[in-house]
Symmetry: C2
Subunit: 244 residues, 2 copies
């Protein structure tokens, strides 16, 4: 019996943003693994085993998913948004690197609508010109690498999407990120705070960077900082295509 493993992106929250490819994988699965709030989005049915786990358990979860697939189960690991953007796909390949017997398993990565795309759509088109995405969590990388990237991103005049800007265990990083961007001359850039986009708690707030305060973000917020040409038109924010 050959098992399978799919690492699937279930989008930012709204079921209307889940691709048919992912819905089909969920419908064919025997086992669903993931961070508990994401597993909770998969409807229970007979024969489907749900394996919710805690945050920061990514590598253990990946190993468990591979083990189940190697035993013939049809396993789906769920990530919110897209599984390849600061999510479970890298953890699965890391687990495979440590256990080469799993390299030949039938594995698929199923893309999804990542948070910055949903946030951008809600605000207008702030990612319509060149941009970058930075994970502000320093759980797995040195904080100085984040500082360096922020400075270079400002110098490159990228729009900047900040994932995981702020959590209870990391209250200081986002405040420091705002300082760095101020030092880099970004005071007059537009900042979008997009919280829980496409869920009932959705809230979007747009300010100038000089007005941005750390407490405007929490762990459910995606922050987009416009480039130097990004501007408002009516209730929308967009990056012009044409930059001279």
């Amino acid at each position: 019996m050959t098992g399978t493993l799919a690492i699937a992106g279930i989008g930012p929250g709204d079921e209307a943003l889940v691709t048919p490819e992912v819905s089909a994988a969920l419908a064919a699965a025997t086992d669903i693994l993931g961070y508990a709030p994401y597993v909770a989005r998969v409807p229970a049915r007979e024969g489907l085993v749900l394996h919710p786990s805690d945050n920061r358990m990514e590598l253990a979860r990946a190993g468990e998913a591979l083990r189940l697939a190697s035993e013939g189960r049809h396993v789906v690991v769920v990530s919110s948004g897209d599984p390849g953007v600061f999510a479970m796909a890298s953890a699965v390949f890391e687990a495979i690197e440590g256990s080469p017997q799993w390299q030949e398993l039938p594995i698929r990565v199923l893309p999804g609508v990542t948070a910055m795309l949903a946030a951008a759509a809600c605000a207008g088109a702030p990612l319509g010109h060149d941009f970058c995405a930075i994970n502000l969590s320093d759980n797995l990388k040195p904080w100085l690498a984040i500082e360096k990237r922020l400075r270079l991103a400002a110098e490159a005049d990228f729009a900047i999407a900040l994932y995981n800007p702020r959590s209870a265990s990391r209250p200081e990083g986002f405040a420091r990120a705002l300082e760095i961007l101020r030092e880099a001359g970004c005071d007059e850039r537009i900042v979008i705070f997009a919280r829980a986009i496409s869920t009932p708690e959705e809230r979007i707030k747009t300010v100038m960077l000089r007005e941005a305060r750390p407490e405007m973000a929490d762990m459910r917020t995606l922050v987009i900082i416009g480039n130097s040409a990004t501007r408002r038109v009516g209730r929308w924010v967009y990056a012009p295509r044409d930059v001279r």
Copy 2:
């Protein structure tokens, strides 16, 4: 009669990557506008008017869509991938800026799976760490801005997704981009050439940057350059989450 306008991302090609939100908008539309190959993906039906147009007609197309919506039509402008990433959403807001009477129209941007996410999923997880997206077309921005961004992106050690790397009218830019990345010390980085992902012509090729040649890309190719830690495991390429 109130019209509506949706700017919708129809994903990279496979219908299984079109979100239900976008499918619903297409099913309710009276008029579809877009670049002809994308409009051709929408099935004809009675009462639906298709308005295919040429490439580089973005601003005229956006104005026409707004005019139709203001006359009470239910208009969908289609982009491949996501409409907010180097696509039609910015053009629509640009058109609104020039014609403020359209600011109050009911407009929605419907996100989709953009090419770099589909390409990354196909290759493994090369966007699992911080990354940037650069449009290599200099139709609307100075080439020197692109060169500067490439240098800063290499210095920041971002993975780099290159959209529109090469076309018949712009054969030189991608060759120059590869030179710049070589000068920046990226010879040993992994490069993924992802062509027509999720279509019957899908083809994926992975080489080291020192082996990359300009003719490996064409106008249907999305190029991803790994960061300095990106590596292979079996048939996959991924960016480790943990970088020290």
